[in-house]
């Protein structure tokens, strides 16, 4: 157990960075997801196509490839930002695609009559989406969004590959000094489990609170 207690500060810093990465990514992904989902259901054909292209391009290339492209490729054309910032932006864009699809499924689950009624009342597309459709849609997709949140948490570990010393990278460094992989990586795993368990709990509470009884 000494391997863990001796390196608590390393683990602590890694955990903090993981949580920061996750929360920033989640906030960004939710915004990106809502925007892209709105594009995909909009009456403008070009927007629908752009939304679909975004989702297909982002989802069909692995996150690690995106991270490597952004960290090592973009500086070649003069775009250079810090490793943490780059990682957050990439994870936001990537998870945004998944979030958009989850939200779109929620939008599709809102009965068509709701949209028709909104239009009959004279609401514009944006108004009907913002005031009528999205509030109902988001409530039905709390559980899938919770899954995406957990997936985001797990995916932050990939930032270790591009030099961000989050929990996985921190565990790796401790292991390099101590060579006790079982204790060290099980500890890191338990920390991830605790965080994702927390996410699951919050998701459950929110879902019960916001459930629409039909």
């Amino acid at each position: 157990m000494n391997v863990i207690t001796d390196h608590l500060s390393e683990f602590g810093h890694g955990l903090v960075l993981t949580v920061e990465l996750t929360l920033l990514s989640l906030a960004g992904a939710l915004v990106a997801g809502v925007v892209v989902a709105a594009m995909r259901v909009s009456p403008v054909r070009a927007l629908r196509a752009a939304g679909m292209a975004y989702v297909e391009v982002l989802q069909n290339i692995p996150l690690l490839v995106w991270l490597v492209i952004a960290v090592f490729g973009l500086p070649e054309i003069g775009v250079i930002a810090g490793l943490f910032t780059t990682s957050v932006v990439v994870i936001v864009l990537y998870q945004g695609a998944y979030t958009a699809e989850a939200i779109r499924s929620g939008i599709n689950s809102v009965p068509a009559g709701q949209g028709e009624a909104a239009r009959a009342l004279g609401l514009t597309f944006t108004q009907s989406l913002r005031l009528v459709i999205l509030p109902q849609a988001l409530r039905t997709v709390v559980q899938p969004l919770g899954n995406i949140a957990i997936m985001t948490l797990m995916n932050t570990a990939l930032a270790a590959a591009v030099g961000v010393v989050e929990l996985t990278a921190a565990a790796n460094r401790v292991n390099l000094a101590e060579a006790k992989p079982i204790w060290i990586f099980v500890t890191a795993g338990l920390a991830y489990m605790a965080l994702s368990g927390l996410f699951g709990l919050v998701t459950g509470v929110l879902e019960r609170k916001w459930a629409i009884l039909r």
Binding site: L83, A160, A161, R173, N175, L176, A177, P181
Partner: protein, 313 residues
């Protein structure tokens, strides 16, 4: 209504697929001429090395070596992307370098022919690959440390290297390891460089990347002021890439061992005997000349004394 027949609908994609396959084979077979990989110049000497290599007189019954001989192939945990040490030549698919040559020589010593299979391993997986028997030996710039020696047995050391500091050519103010204080330093993830940097410059900010090419790229893109890596690797990089400069001499001593399954004292003794033989016969120096000697001036250094590193006793 126009309908394409079923046959027609299949024909087009199949034809495209077939054409692209032809294109691929054409690409891969078109270039088997020269190579820009350092160390490749001595590629033809590999066969001379193997021809001069000794073969063990007898293998103890029931030993690991006997099992390897029966299998007819030595399975080595190693790299395919380490210049001068163990790098696959894209032109002829041969793995070249110091570690690769030693691997082939050991295979010949055990089996009688240099038949090896290199399993691409990483610094995180080597201990596991050895202990579960996926690989017989590890030749991969495997630094001997007492911590690692608790999980694997080390024969050797067969080579002694050290860490050096590299910077971009136009960087000033970093001429040795002690100048790293307060700087952002790039290092390979899971390399001894991390601990070594912390020792000489405790307040340096360390940024790590998985592979050596990534670290070099990061240095060139200015993600750090300096890059600390093994001398042999950096020499090859600096030779290939004039925008990188090596600053000063190695500031650590880093003995490389041959990783074996933990507790296999018989095989460790056997491999050490082999090392003793090739050192005495001058073959060791020839292997060095053929790889690292292609970028370092002068004669081969003295081979490190067997069992001299803590963890290899």
């Amino acid at each position: 209504m126009v309908r394409t027949s079923v046959r027609m609908r299949w024909a087009a994609p199949v034809a495209v697929a077939a054409l692209s396959l032809v294109g691929l084979t054409a690409c891969s077979s078109s270039d088997d001429s020269g190579s820009s990989v350092p160390g490749a110049a001595g590629g033809g000497k590999q066969d001379d090395l193997v021809a001069a290599a000794p073969v063990a007189a007898n293998l103890p019954a029931g030993s690991t070596m006997e099992k390897i001989k029966k299998r007819g192939q030595l399975v080595i945990g190693g790299s395919l992307d380490a210049p001068l040490l163990s790098q696959q030549n894209p032109a002829n698919k041969k793995v070249e370098g110091l570690d690769a040559d030693f691997g082939r020589l050991l295979a010949k010593y055990i089996i009688g022919k240099p038949d090896v299979k290199i399993v691409n391993s990483a610094s995180e997986t080597r201990e596991a690959l050895l202990s579960n028997g996926t690989v017989d030996v590890v030749f991969q710039t495997y630094s001997i440390t007492p911590e690692r020696a608790k999980q694997v047995a080390f024969a050797g050391p067969y080579y002694s290297s050290g860490l050096v500091v590299a910077t971009k050519k136009d960087t000033t103010g970093i001429t040795s390891a002690s100048d790293l204080k307060g700087k952002t330093v790039i290092a390979g993830a899971n390399t001894p460089a991390i601990a070594a940097i912390k020792k000489v410059a405790p307040d340096a900010k360390i940024v790590t990347f998985g592979t050596d090419p990534e670290c070099v790229q990061a240095l060139k893109q200015g993600r750090g002021d300096a890059y600390v890596q093994d001398e042999a690797l950096l020499l090859a990089t600096a030779k290939q890439d004039p925008s990188i400069k090596i600053q000063g001499k190695p500031f650590t001593s880093d003995p490389y061992g041959i990783g074996l399954k933990h507790g296999d004292a018989q095989m460790k003794q056997f491999v050490n005997d082999w090392l003793k033989q090739i050192q005495a016969s001058g073959l060791w120096a020839k292997v060095w000349k053929n790889s690292i000697g292609t970028v370092v001036e002068g004669d081969a250094p003295q081979a490190p004394a067997l069992g001299s590193a803590p963890g290899s006793e």
